[in-house]
Subunit: 326 residues, 2 copies
């Protein structure tokens, strides 16, 4: 099995991407990585590491899609970009089962939607990040930005896809599904959510808990949070922003808190460090594009080697999971 | 001027409500409070404090609306509840200019919408909480739950109301307005937000920054965040939930971190305490119902005396602000 990696996607490309790819190879046997991008630069970086060269392919792609480019236009025109070229490899090579990029979210979403076949019965692909919870588990949010305007049947689709992913990649037997709303009562929400509520509830194969508030996303009481891509994106980024705000204020407090605060920080460092690790959802890999024939993982733009490696192994295990089912 | 206070609304009613009311009187001269609820209980609690009795009125209201009641039905049927009775006092007494309740959000929204006149030109009242930012300032979110389904002109309305409140209660001369979306580019969002974007931008009296992501809500780069009530509610509660998750994990880490962690906690206590205070938006009062002829403030259900007092003083200053304009 091969995992295709966009070596020039993300803020820390290509160095951290290549390093993450080599790291992933050292952590798991039985798969290869295909790195797309400027081959001379990639090969130069690869020379810094020792690894089984038979497990790495490099595919030349001279162009780079940046975040400031209009996604659709970029994907259509820049066929020789590391991001788009990767999708061509994914489609043309039967051994290529997964794709990982830390590049422009818009471009990855667009390319995945335009270039990768959807699974039968899937209306639209959805972006699903995995977040940590206070109980030590994880929660999958779907959709977090692939579809800003949704129909009820799409939300039902997301529930099925999310539940399926929770089983495969989190190993949860009967995933608890919550429908993101502005209250927990059945009648809460919009016409969209009320209609989606009915169809999700109607499917007895799903473990549907009901409407949930955004306050509960990290509570650990849900395994899958279903929403339209607009609301999901807002919920995800509000969580990110608050976590960031917390860390910023804590840092400032310590810096301005004199000796006592600095000593306190030193003593509390192990706790704060593990707190930071728990809240850092990049450590759990990237956001998965659900509903496609092949596995597509969008790693965070700021990903370092550790997150890239996690995203590659995540793509690998998801692809393997599909084999077990087939 | 009088501020009407629902003495039996909220998790800590009536004790914390009464205590907060007396506290507000001690902090500011020149206004009275009208407490609605079971008068015998209220009077018994009032006996515990010393204050100018001429500044307190008690209005008998034997019934209590609880959170589990259907708002519309409760408001229609329970005319003798402390929550609804307060609105009758607000309407009938010309000196009554503000209303504060920590009771059921749904019931307060419903009662305010049904019983209080809207200002001319206002399409729908909107719920606007005030959040702290990492830069030490505050940000107003409008709407956070009064209107789950919105039309573009309503969002434009919210921008005007929010900007107006930022001037009056935060004293900001030219409030920076952001439209909550799934990206910062002008074309991002839904049909609703794109259309609202155009009309907000068209009003040159507004300082419209453009589309913003939920990640930026607490950044201090915006004074007013405009959204439909569904998305706003999700953004607000996602921020709340993440802050809560942070505190929970920090606490656990300290409890399980042995002596070193406990010493560190002791040394870092002042920093963590001020951090908690900064993040605690209840300290800044409650969520204001914007667009009504009289000031209505919904205090957090878990409000203690401090927050109740802050909400009462917030209602007072908003009412005074309208006098200055008139």
């Amino acid at each position: 099995m091969k995992i295709v990696v966009d070596a020039f996607g993300g803020d820390n490309a290509p160095r951290e991407i290549v390093s993450g790819a080599v790291n992933a190879l050292s952590e798991r046997e039985g798969f290869k990585v295909v790195l797309t991008g400027k081959s001379d630069e990639i090969n130069a970086l690869l020379k810094e590491y020792s690894f089984d060269s038979a497990r790495v392919e490099v595919v030349e792609a001279p162009d780079v899609i940046t975040n400031d480019m209009a996604p659709v236009e970029a994907v259509r025109k820049m066929k020789n970009s590391s991001l788009v070229k990767g999708f061509y490899v994914l489609n043309s090579d039967p051994d290529a089962r997964g794709y990982v990029s830390a590049g422009s979210t818009g471009a990855v979403l667009t390319a995945a939607t335009l270039l990768v076949k959807r699974k039968p019965g899937v209306l639209r692909a959805a972006l699903a990040p995995v977040l940590p919870t206070v109980k030590g588990g994880r929660v999958i949010m779907v959709d977090c930005g692939a579809n800003s305007e949704c129909k009820p049947e799409m939300l039902y689709n997301f529930a099925v896809l999310g539940s399926d992913m929770a089983k495969r990649s989190l190993g949860i037997r009967n995933p608890r599904i919550g429908l993101l709303s502005n209250g927990t009562e059945d009648k809460k929400g919009t016409d969209l959510t009320r209609s989606a509520f009915a169809s999700i509830k109607a499917d007895e194969k799903l473990n549907f808990v009901g409407n949930m508030e955004a306050r509960e996303i990290l509570s650990g009481d849900y395994d899958v949070v279903v929403s339209d891509g607009f609301s999901g994106n807002i919920a995800l980024k509000a969580c990110e922003g608050t976590a960031l705000a917390f860390m910023t204020l804590l840092k400032e407090g310590i810096v301005n808190g004199g000796l006592r605060a600095k000593v306190g920080y030193f003593m509390l460092k192990p706790v704060l460090k593990s707190l930071k690790t728990t809240m850092d959802y990049n450590a759990y890999g990237g956001a998965v594009m659900l509903g496609l024939e092949k596995v597509v993982v969008k790693a965070h733009g700021s990903s370092k080697a550790k997150s890239v490696s996690a995203a590659i192994l995540q793509a690998l295990s998801l692809a393997e999971g599909e084999d077990r089912e087939a």
